[in-house]
Amino acid sequence: MREMTYAQAIEDALMQAMASDPRIVVFGEDVHAIRMNLFARFGESRVRPTPISESAFLGAGVTAAMGGLRPIVEIMMVDFVAVAADALINHAAKVEAFSGGRWKVPMVVRIACGGGYGDGGQHEQALWGLLAQVPGMKVVVPSNPADAGALMLSAIEDEAPVLFMEHKLLADYWLDYLADGGRTGLDYQVPEAGARGVVPDTWGSIPIPAAQVLRAGRDLTMVGVGVAVHRCLEAAERLAELGIDAGVVDLRSVSPLDVDTVCAELAKTQRLLVADEDYKHFGLAGELAAVALEAGLQPAFQRVCVERTIPYDRRREVEVLPNAARIVDAATMLMSARTPSPLSVTHTSHSRSPGH
């Protein structure tokens, strides 16, 4: 067991994977600098900086994978996926289906995402719910170093395209580049347990989906990914002081969703709180409501999400993102909404079991 940062964990897992599989290549803007250590070790042919041409190089990633490589394509921020969405929506996600299952696209797209450091609404989006809509792609959003390294391996090993979404508040170098720029003393409410933690000596993948119950709770179940998971944990502490026993589930992957784990928790609590840094409507939060209902559960439901364009002003930004205070409020409302009725319907299984 070692301790490392979220960013180091991803790099370390990549080092391990790239050393053992020469088909893995990394490309994206500025990767010679952003991935300097990989660049130094594996050389420019495997770690290639690109022009600012996301459509071309993400599209190229799809056929590079079809041509036998295991490309890891970097899109600097998920907001910029919008200029190249075609490569994902109409190509990466569909080749397997179009080819009658004969051709797969084992591509990883590594993308920084998330807000909380004052960069404004075009640079801090989450968008995992939007990307998860398209059948044929997987979306993982690790919340801590151990998961980050392991899910990177899972993503690489997967025969389907996987979007690996790395939160900028957890990856110290992004925060240094984009937020601090060498300044000190600025506070971004970085969740410590997400930014640094214990990791295994040798990386192994974890199955997708494999949600993790980080905290069992009798009264309500809080569900999220990425930074929101830590906000939930913080809220759970505060709720405990109020006598409310709140559980926390880290989904780890948005798509596919680990419906079984979520529903097993919900069956106990009958109360669902989704904390999501992505947009409120038509996304992850709604999907969780649907899968609960489909499982025959009738949870009381609250969602704490981003409801509008993220403001530039740090003070308003913090209010708009799912923070512990908002989560506590929503949880309190959930508790007062109604007493859960005794469990009358057993939930039916909807996805393969989480495997842990």
């Binding site: 041409s53 459509s55 990633g61 799809v62 056929t63 994978a65 041509g67 080819s99 004969r102």
Partner: protein, 340 residues
């Protein structure tokens, strides 16, 4: 690989006869929705593809039939795909705009411009895994205004990717004359993106073949991408059942539902000035006139090539092709009928 004149003729004729058969099946209602053929473009496709070897890749657009046929895809399996059958090339899942043949490293897309990035990805995989292979991208001149295609020429240039970008210029983007929506010159544009650019008359398959040879040699040697700009005519318009061609071919029948509203619109109070309306009607008329001129005339690459052969050479090829295509159609339909 066929490098002689008769070989080129055979490649083209095979595609032509096959696409004619496809058109028949489509007309009979056995193939659904849009069907874009390459009839008239065979000189370009054959001239390039004759230089390909095992391991080379193709990135195709919405006109993927001809390239696949010329690369030797199983004809029955392709027809079965068009018929939507589970034993088709893509198990009936892709259909004619989404054709995939992993064994040929051939991938299609119905998204205009997408063959550019796709060729780059194949070429990148070649650089790592198959250093002597190349990737060819086929697309129309309209696609040259799609950002991702321009981006991909630049990407290929700066990474010295072994890509040959082949622009089949029929002068039309569905109903829009390319001139009207294209600034500058396409070869200059490609050069400004770092590619080696070549212009050629696409109805002369031998001319295409000799230019393509240079482009592919450059690519195999690691000298980076080329851009081949080749002109052509397409007698079937944009797709089978092209509404402009329907009007031209059956003006009375097709126009009766269209002329009324058009005349009414053009004459309505409120709207553009009389001059502008007249210009609009002029444009509509010109569009139909252009459509009316969509025949191959002297630009049929198949006929041009036929003239270079002896009648004996021609007859051998024609007989073989006729037989092969007929057998494929028979087999494709028979197995459907057998199942029914």
């Amino acid at each position: 690989m066929q490098s002689d004149g008769a070989g080129l003729y055979a490649l083209m004729l095979r595609s032509r006869r096959f696409e004619e058969a496809v058109a028949d099946l489509w007309s009979a209602g056995r193939i659904s929705a849009e069907m874009h053929l390459s009839i008239g473009e065979e000189g370009i496709v054959a001239g390039v593809l004759q230089h390909l070897v095992d391991g080379d890749a193709m990135a195709l657009d919405h006109r993927g039939t001809a390239p696949l046929v010329m690369r030797g895809v199983d004809l029955v399996s392709l027809l079965r795909e068009f018929l939507g059958e589970p034993d088709g090339l893509c198990h009936g899942m892709g259909g004619h705009m989404h054709l995939f043949a992993p064994e040929l490293l051939a991938a299609s897309s119905g998204i205009v411009g997408a063959s550019g990035p796709a060729a780059c990805g194949f070429a990148l995989a070649h650089q790592h895994l198959r250093p002597n292979n190349v990737a060819v991208a086929f697309f129309g001149e309209g696609a040259m205004n799609q950002g991702m295609l321009m981006e991909s020429i630049n990407l290929a240039a700066v990474w010295s990717l072994p890509v040959v970008f082949v622009c089949k210029d029929n002068g039309m983007c569905i109903t829009t004359p390319a001139k009207k929506v294209t600034g500058g010159d396409l070869c200059q544009r490609a050069e400004g993106l770092g590619a080696f650019a070549i212009s050629v008359d696409g109805s002369d398959v031998q001319a295409v073949a000799s230019h393509a040879e240079k482009a592919i040699r450059r690519a195999r040697r690691g000298h980076g991408p080329s851009f081949i700009h080749a002109t052509c005519k397409r007698p079937d318009g944009h797709f089978l059942g092209d509404p402009l061609l329907r009007i031209v071919r059956n003006p009375v029948g097709e126009l009766k539902s269209k002329v009324g509203p058009l005349a009414k619109a053009a004459a309505s109070v409120q709207g553009a000035s009389v001059g502008r309306r007249a210009a609009s009607l002029g444009s509509v008329a010109a569009m139909l006139t252009r459509a009316g001129k969509m025949h191959l005339a002297g630009h049929d690459p198949v006929i041009r090539q036929a003239k270079r052969l002896t009648s004996a050479e021609r007859e051998v090829v024609e007989a073989t092709v006729r037989e092969e295509v007929a057998a494929a159609v028979r087999a494709a339909i028979d197995s459907t009928e057998a199942r029914a």
